[in-house]
């Protein structure tokens, strides 16, 4: 217990003094998580909506496929991108492997099925409600998508927050395509995994606390958003 108390004190110290290594890791994490979440949302929010309102051949298959992707172990996704981006791979010439860019791409790909599934849920419920109205106004399915997305913007904001939380929590894929290189691709999650295996607790503890605080505030923000929109829009 003394060891732990000591580590706690050191962790506090690191955070309070704004230790350079700590700051670098946190800042990198925020950048890559925001970037990957943004890309994932840009692609998956409309895709989820399209699947919700659409009626095209293969829709069922697409839904099953998305659900399957959701259950895919993250290390496998990491491996796929690793093979694609490695020097021997098809996209190796881009030289992205072991750079933050690789992390962003892999994370975005991991977050997309989650965002698509959640956005599909929300849009589907809204579609059931407004379908008749929109049809009577002569709005085609395709045209309805942006309308619904805008109408649901608050709910979709919670989806984006969920995606961001997922991105910030990712470790397996990030380890593989990023390589956990100090100062370059070491993010909070990989640093924690590394530091604890080295037996070096204070940095891991400090990072862990920050990561925890981040994820909890994202969840808190999503909760507050839901409450606010429920009160406002009923």
């Amino acid at each position: 217990m003394n060891d732990f108390a000591e580590s706690l004190r050191l962790a506090f110290h690191l955070a309070a003094t704004g230790d350079a290594e700590l700051r670098g890791i946190v800042w990198l994490s925020l950048r890559v998580s925001l970037a990957s979440a943004a890309i994932a949302c840009a692609v998956a929010l409309p895709v989820g909506a399209l699947v919700a309102v659409g009626d095209f051949p293969g829709r069922r298959g697409l839904i099953v496929g998305l659900n399957a992707l959701l259950g895919l172990p993250s290390v496998v996704v990491g491996l796929v991108f690793y093979l694609l981006l490695s020097r021997a791979g098809p996209l190796g010439s881009l030289g992205i492997l072991f750079t933050p860019m690789a992390i962003v791409i892999a994370q975005a790909f991991l977050v997309m099925p989650l965002v698509a599934a959640l956005s599909r849920q929300f849009v589907e419920d809204a579609w059931l409600e407004y379908r008749e109205q929109l049809k009577s106004l002569g709005v085609s399915r395709l045209r309805a998508v942006p309308t619904l997305l805008w109408d649901l913007r608050l709910s979709l904001a919670t989806v984006a927050l969920a995606g961001l939380g997922r991105a910030a929590s990712e470790v397996g894929a990030v380890m593989i395509v990023g390589g956990n290189i100090a100062g370059v691709t070491r993010v909070m999650t990989t640093a924690i995994a590394l530091e604890t295996s080295k037996g070096d607790l204070p940095l891991a503890l400090a990072l862990g606390t920050i990561l925890l605080a981040l994820v909890l505030s994202l969840n808190g923000a999503a909760y507050a958003l839901r409450e606010w929109s429920a009160r406002r829009y009923g």
Binding site: M1, D3, F4, N67, A68, G71, L72, P73, S74, V75, V76, G78, L79, V80, Y82, L83, S86, A88, G165, A168, S169, V171, G172, M175, I176, M188, T189, I192, A193, T196, S197, A204, L205, G208, L211, L212, V215, N219
Partner: protein, 227 residues
Amino acid sequence: MPTADELRVVALSLKVACWGVGASLPLAIATAFVLARKRFPGKTLFDAVVHLPLVLPPVVVGFALLVLFGRQGPLGRLLEPLGLVFSFRWTGAALAAAIMGFPLMVRAIRLAIDAVDTRLESAARTLGAARARVFFTITLPLAWPGVVTGALLAFARALGEFGATITFVSNIPGETQTLPLAIYTFTQVPGGDEQALRLSVLSVLLSLAALALSERLTRRAGGARDA
């Protein structure tokens, strides 16, 4: 064709996942029952705590496990004389897998218990069955498809578990190097890409099989329920 080493990794992963899910299943059933049927102060908080592993980053969960169950940790020191050591052992990997999959199990089982008509339970009581008997002869059998689904979902999750495992019990070949950890390790080794790929295929196949089975059970239960 998988090599002996690869098969050992798969065997370890299966052992970890089976023990993790199996040992936590009774607790998951009890938790789901309490959440489905009982009202008590602090229920919302309890529900939130049960679902924490879904929300928290796996590395944070792994780190918490390390602090609590590590050799120096309060619970670790308590359990060591009982012969339960988690630190750097496959039991720790199983514990991590169990915790990460617990909310999935509870959610599926709770849904199934919610769907059991409480009036059937009342009918059983008027016939002379005490509460415990009602649970084991009426509630649980009727909720069983949900139990199996929950276990399969948690199993699939356990097979893919990485962050909590590597943070809690590290990456010890033969002891804690489950399938995902092995895949990662092979990418760090020159020329290990092919093996990593093979393991990935195995991992995906196992996960998909578990998920497909749970899908089929859910659909079948939906039809049989209208009795």
